[in-house]
Symmetry: C2
Subunit: 254 residues, 2 copies
Amino acid sequence: MSNVQSIERALTILNKLSEYPDGIQIARLTEQVSLTKSTIHRLLATLVSMNYVVKDEETDKYKLGLQVLFLSRNLLNNSSIVTIAKPYLEKLSQEVNETVHLCIEDHGEVIYIDKIESNQTIRMYSRIGSRAPMYCTGVGKVLLSGATPEHVDQVISKTEFIPKTPYTITSKEAFLKEIELVKQQGYALDNSENEEVLRCIAAPIYDHKGKIIASFSISGPSNRVTMELINTSLIEKMKQYSLAISRNLGYSGS
Amino acid sequence: MSNVQSIERALTILNKLSEYPDGIQIARLTEQVSLTKSTIHRLLATLVSMNYVVKDEETDKYKLGLQVLFLSRNLLNNSSIVTIAKPYLEKLSQEVNETVHLCIEDHGEVIYIDKIESNQTIRMYSRIGSRAPMYCTGVGKVLLSGATPEHVDQVISKTEFIPKTPYTITSKEAFLKEIELVKQQGYALDNSENEEVLRCIAAPIYDHKGKIIASFSISGPSNRVTMELINTSLIEKMKQYSLAISRNLGYSGS
DNA sequence: TAATATGTTCTTTATTATGGAACATCATTC
DNA sequence: GAATGATGTTCCATAATAAAGAACATATTA
């Protein structure tokens, strides 16, 4: 029933290394992970031998190896949600000329599994694989609006409400109310609740059973994505795309 | 000096799981990896607890978890090669209306670190993170053309020359000759050597020291990417882009 | 040159992982 | 519907293994 210690430690090191794209020395790692030099050294040696970690011989810094990329190569390819939703999301992004995200829930957090940039000059992979909290994102609210009350409770109980902006929802009660609102509306807003200058609108994607399995959003600077634009155009558009994508996944509701 | 057994085993399992996007049962894994049921079960339990692996409770199948995606989120983002090359590669892809790949070498293999599809209907991530041998790809030949003779020897000694098509180079001598040719030409062809219907042209990317650190290619069906097109247009174009991207990385040669 | 900070290797010890066996669960077949 | 087989899970004694301190090596700085 208990875990394998060395594996737990090795994975913890991998997690930590992902925070340092330019690498980190063993001495720094000992501070981050509380393990002795020699232990970390041995764990890293194993990770290096499997190409999960690369050692920069010049600087003695360790960073993630390309085997990690190799691992994830099939993770999203074969995900029907990404494949099916992509053409819709690309079209949506073009129509509104803003960034579109596709997200699912993973262990009580939002995880970005696809992103379409309106502006081609911005790099591509920036957010795929990243995580975000549920309480301050439109996509998170949508995902919770489709969850059971028990699950919502469980997620909220683990949530630390940090006021990222003056508009962030910071109480359990307010958040529950918001989720209820989202459920009724069929869409969610992030009204500068995560980043001061950003406004998003998110909508659900349903599977064949009518369960919310993903959500997608339009994000943009508040001055472009105005409340007026949302009310006059985006809400309607999001609902259309929500239905179209869901239908393609076998959803039969409305 | 020796590796941590349990970690080696856990990573071997992760590697194996990446071959099964839809998951695999413990019983199947015992055949693939030669370990006992109970050991695999315990290793998997640890991987699951760290979200590196997810268990499908319905089917008892295990597959990679999204933590793997999270790990790789910064792997290519912060890679200057990808970021700097991308706009050029996108322009190139548009100009010739064919797929463009960006590759580096990793442990004697080609690894695809970026891909631009000409045809937007084809899914996006299909090849990023994948590996390919050096001897039957244009990008591989280019990468080896910039390596030291010792490194080339080392790679070749580990290479098994499999005739993927009638045109595949299958001898060490012929391959060495080909690399020499590529070095002189400044570009490489894959003339249906990997897949019968495919033809590619690849060129190097140099860093500020004049070292070849990556290569990029145009790939397309042989009937579109004809030898005539290559000779009259693509060679010149590839050389231009090669220089432009390299210059942007600090290359001062010509 | 000494001192400091770091990476690497070694060795002893006790912790820890291991795998067989027992048990549980499920599906299939007769 | 009982019996068989295939699988996942848990337990436990044992031996193998990982851990960490110390010694050593190397590089950097004062």
